[in-house]
Homo-oligomer: 139 residues x 2
């Protein structure tokens, strides 16, 4: 888990951390039961205050992604939360709109966006460049 934050980004620091962790869970780089870095350790790595990391962990715990055990550490939940379907779809469309708008503003067209999406897919899942026709996913 290599996490990084940008203090001058659009999102607040703790939300940047939250997003990267949920993204890592989504992409399978963090699996149920995996241990996260302690909030102190991560705060040293990111050169930010421990409480900021703690806040990110607290929010993620409230959302059901991770659970903390006093004296032991913080772990990815065995059973991840299912989001409401309508909310989920609206969130996906929001993200899709954002991606396309950004691309259009840069002068790109839909095919170029699809290409980037496929590259990013390989990056996230760690799959080799070939888009295998079959798809043996577990989850």
């Amino acid at each position: 888990m290599d996490i990084f934050v940008n203090p001058s980004g659009e999102l607040s620091l703790y939300r940047q951390i939250m997003r990267q962790i949920t993204d890592a869970i989504a992409g399978g780089r963090l699996k149920p039961g995996d241990k996260l870095a302690s909030h102190r350790e991560l705060s040293e790595h990111l050169v930010i205050a421990p409480l900021t990391v703690k806040k990110a962990y607290d929010e993620l715990e409230a959302l059901g992604y991770i659970e903390t055990q006093r004296g032991r550490g913080t772990f990815v939940c065995a059973r991840l939360p299912r989001t409401n379907r309508a909310d989920r779809d609206e969130q996906l469309r929001e993200n899709a709109r954002r991606l396309l708008s950004q691309a259009y503003l840069a002068g790109l067209q839909l095919p170029a966006v699809l290409k980037i999406l496929e590259e990013t897919d390989r990056e996230l899942t760690g799959n080799p460049t070939d888009p295998a026709p079959q798809d043996q996913k577990k989850r």
Copy 2:
């Protein structure tokens, strides 16, 4: 321009406004020279403080998207800013990562994401890009 904001969203209010306006410019729903709602008017519509809208407009002006004229109003710039290529690509990949992660977390696969993207493309541009025989969505 129908703008809306969510006070409990990830982004601060003024950044939500900024994003929706740049998205509208990108999608062609706002064109160079178009007049924006006055910050008072928009603040009434959104039920937020006028200064919050003002801040969004100020930032957008500093970025070169819009220009304000005292006593007259605020307008979309005739010549829109070009972003640095490396920054642009990184931003696109960030948005692509976000979209994919969200989809995976919801249990969707790449093909489903591509479908959503094409629907959103039609929504943004208003173009029936493809003479696809099936799937006439009307939102």
